[in-house]
């Protein structure tokens, strides 16, 4: 599947078809994240059931504490 993540074009393996799986793929499942899908912020409870489709534009922001 072809998607854009934080502006970069990326090819995802077919098995990665939901937002939760995508976060796991990037090892972000334990992190506090905000996910925007096609300019719409997803509620956290919806990550598992939100299905990705070809051409999706996804922004993933994770919080870090350093400074």
């Amino acid at each position: 599947m072809n998607v854009f993540i934080n502006g970069d074009a990326m090819v995802l393996p077919e098995t990665i078809n939901s937002v939760s799986l995508l976060l796991e793929h990037f090892h972000l499942e334990q992190k506090v994240v905000i996910v925007e899908l096609n300019q719409h912020i997803l509620d956290k409870s919806m990550h598992a059931e939100t299905i990705l489709t070809d051409g999706d534009r996804i922004e993933i922001v994770h919080f870090v504490g350093g400074g």
Binding site: N6, K31, V32, I34, K44, V64, G65, G67
Partner: protein
């Protein structure tokens, strides 16, 4: 004055009026590490009226790669960061009133620090204190600017009480055991990028150019060449305990404040006595020396080594124990030498 700030006043969104407003403002920077040093230098050069900078730590060699206000001598002499920062900032711009505070900022300290303050800039290294900043900001209607950075990645968001979502709206939980600057490292350009976003927003707020504020959560990776800007205004939660219609400011509850904490990225435990009071450092030094312990000291703190651990005692009673993995071991050393 006009010569020093001429280029900034030629910039139309600031101008003479904005410069005057900047001069009337008081900014509070919590944390004098990498982000704190960068933000403080920018605001000092820009000519803010007053700048308070609060930090609990002292300068070490591993800071010098990115904490731009400090030099080798500060590390050798273990100068508290707030003091070393103030000295350098005064040399940069003597017109700015700099108020250094050597302290571990908790609820009580925060209530005292925010008096007369127009803006809080987060330059801390953990979320416990950020949620405290968030609640105090909501309670007193003072804007604050979040910044975080690890490795080559960073992010920032500007929180305006009554206008934007707050940190508690954006984060549904505290991140546990995430990467820190101690475990994943950090590079200076990522710090500078976060600080640039923070201090640009700070100038807009202090010069009262609020319509130019960014309003998005930005994140970037300067190594992977990614940048993202997300509109998060839909996350403002009317039920939020910090900024909703019935706020209770949960993080201002003194009972949840920890007395000991592991510091970001080092084998270090901080121990905070329940009532902070000035420690008689000179007396302690005498007593340690009489036990045959080699003590180093400066006007703000003293330090000594026991086996592999190093103990640093600040005048306000706080103690840092380096070279220990767990809190228990640190507490044992603390009670052995400091009662």
């Amino acid at each position: 004055m006009s010569e020093r700030y001429s280029r900034q006043m030629l910039f139309p969104p600031i101008g003479k009026e904005g410069q005057k407003k900047l001069r009337e403002k008081h900014a509070l920077i919590i944390g004098a590490g990498a982000l704190g040093a960068a933000n403080a230098e920018t605001l000092t050069r820009a000519g803010v009226g007053k700048l308070t900078i609060a930090d609990r730590d002292y300068v070490e060699w591993s800071n010098l790669q990115r904490q731009q206000l400090y030099c080798e001598e500060d590390a050798v002499r273990k100068v508290p960061k707030a003091i070393a920062a103030a000295k350098r900032l005064k040399a940069i711009n003597s017109e700015v009133q700099i108020f250094p505070r050597i302290m571990d900022v908790g609820v009580q300290e925060m209530e005292e620090l925010i008096e007369d303050v127009d803006l809080i800039i987060d330059s801390t290294d953990n979320f416990d204190i950020r949620f405290l900043i968030n609640d105090i900001s909501q309670k007193h209607r003072i804007p604050w600017i979040y910044g975080g950075c690890v490795g080559s990645y960073g992010l920032s968001y500007t929180i305006l009480p009554g206008v934007t979502p707050c940190l508690n709206c954006l984060m549904d939980k505290l991140p546990l055991g995430g990467a820190t600057c101690d475990t994943a490292g950090v590079i200076q350009p990522a710090i500078q990028m976060v600080a640039a976003h923070q201090s640009a927003e700070a100038l807009k707020i202090l010069a009262e150019n609020l319509e130019s504020l960014r309003a998005t959560l930005i994140s970037f990776d300067v190594w992977k060449n990614q940048f993202s800007s997300v509109n998060v205004s839909s996350l403002r939660n009317p039920q939020c305990l910090s900024c909703g219609t019935k706020p209770i400011y949960p993080f201002l509850d003194y009972r949840i404040q920890t007395k000991t904490s592991l510091l970001c990225g080092r084998d270090t435990v901080q121990i905070r006595p329940s009532a902070l009071q000035d420690m008689d450092v000179a007396y302690l030094e005498k007593s340690l020396v009489s036990q045959g312990i080699n003590v180093e000291s400066n006007p703000y703190l003293l330090s000594f080594s026991i086996n592999d651990a190093r103990v640093v005692v600040f005048k306000d009673g706080r103690v840092l124990v380096h070279g220990v993995r767990d809190i228990l071991q640190a507490k044992n050393l603390y009670h052995r030498f400091l009662g």
